[in-house]
Amino acid sequence: MRVTRFPSRAAGLADRMSGFIAHLRMNGMRVGPAETADALAALTTVEATDAKQARQALCVLLAGDADDWRRFDELFDAFWFNAGKQRAETASTEHVRVQSAKPMIWQKQTGEAQETESDTDQVAAPDPGDGEAAGRDGKLIATRAANLSRRDLREVIDEEALKQAEKAAMILARAIRDRRSRRRKQALRGPALDMRRIQRACLARGGEPMDLYRRARPPRPMRIVALCDVSGSMTVYSRVFLAFLKGLIGSGTEADAYLFHTRLMRVTDALRDHDTLRAAGRLSLMAEGFGGGTDISGSLDSFLTGYGARALNGRTVVLILSDGYCSSDPQALGDVLARIRRKVRRIVWLNPLKGWRDYKPVAAAMQAAEPYLDAHLPANTLAALAALEPQFRKL
């Protein structure tokens, strides 16, 4: 039978509620002492002896966003019905002496579950806090979802990971999309008054500033040009990076995507295809020689002389996704990057190798490229991709 183990010092409902709030906080929800009082107040307005109502009321009150909303039931069960593990982090706290206390008021609801559970599960002893096998059916709240996403991208590629890569790209693109000009221009609505126009309009009103004109800072979105390496050494990452490119294209930002190995091809239109399967088909047709050798400098050079004239301007961020293993002359790479640099705002190199421990840019090409980069960032895990957002805000 399930039991709730409260610290023996927990005196009454208020104390237990603050324990519950602490439990939620430990699991990453943003709640504090004020919410404890609110929760108690909320329980007085519903039938608090009905577990379902209490659960709903607390969920409505304490959840802050859609994530919390979905997790709340598990967290609630974990605390009040002692299902699953209580803590997300490893238990670094002192051993609290606990007592076995049956939640008498909610006995009815726990009743159904009692039969199904074997007696051996009745643990009156303190929670060992070892983080293993505390739940029965995957209710281990302790296991972090992040475990999966922290592995290197080439180890795990599934639908979910591709979706996450797409999402990370959208967040990145959004981070640099919402830029505003420093200058103010006349606008219908805006925070500032346009004194020159107001004064001019005064003349028609006998010197009274009757009509108010305004000025605002117009949006000046940044563009993204992404160049993705799909050569042999990058094949393990290419699916995720393709998903990443697709996210960039679909983010509503002005974005342009290219693939290269020994040649360069523009894939913006193929990626814009909403039908993922058809997009994949078009891509594979285009990427003949996918997984061969690399000629980074040659590809960049043909980009610069071809598409570059139209694709690049002073508000462009160039993203290069490559590991920097290159068969051509490293000096040529430096030269072409220097030329690109003159035309664009920023050059960012996302390197899947950079996330490895003890990475040094030993590849000659990387050494030649480094002086021209505004940022050289790791991109070997989904977490690393997602963590690029603050970096991009600064660009």
Binding site: T45, Q53, Q56, V60, G64, P191, A216, H274, T276
Partner: protein, 288 residues
Amino acid sequence: MSLQDIQQGLAQVGYVADDRLAMALHLAQTLGRPLLLEGPAGVGKTEVAKALAAQRDARLIRLQCYEGLDASHAIYEWNYQRQLLAIRASEAQGGTSEAQLFTDAYLLKRPLLEAITEDEPPVLLIDEIDRADEEFEAYLLEILSDFQITIPELGTIKARSRPIVILTANGTRDLSDALRRRCLYSFLDYPPRETELAILRAHMPQIEGLLARQIIGVVQALRKEDLEKTPGIAEMLDWAAALSGLGVNDMARSRDEVQATLVCLLKTAADYDAAPPEVMGRLIGKVA
């Protein structure tokens, strides 16, 4: 007012609320806290406020948010032109009193100020709050926590009655923690089959049982497909109205009408292409 009362009251005005939403509305009314509703487009977030207003027989004050919404459009503004006219007029008569210029007569009330100066508590709907700028959220904080508005020239205006505040968001932008903490929260998702059937029946009591089941079945199946714009409840109701208006009783026997009325349901060309007659036939076949 108990939970069942709320659910029944909403059902009378044609809104089918699940248990959690009823609880959220109950708490919003008893605790006097604003309620933040999130969820995909077309699940009836805005309708909650309308139904609540209809059920309580209260006034619905709606503030539609957009990018660039500022305090003068949402809270209050001085009627500048009228003030100038008053100055001119009093100058002509000789002697002007500046104190008279900042009174209620020259104050243009915008939705938020209007909501807290009503005698009967109205329902205040702040729609798509995530479209407004972050600065606007900061204005809202004072109003939502204390239900008062400070006007420098007049002083602080306290709410005569506490409005029931409903905020909706679509996830265009992340809302600030400060705002989230002041609100109750409820996430509305696409309803399960039975609930949606009940919604359809509430809106169109005359619809045939078979057609209703087919409509819900097809719509629910379409939501699982990879569409650009997933059809919401409003689209479903439009489609149902179109089909029953055309006198369709059984989808399987009137494929042409089904295909022609799909414009009610699918709102982009790509989605429309994704549902050719064969696909629809398969979906209808599955339901039947």
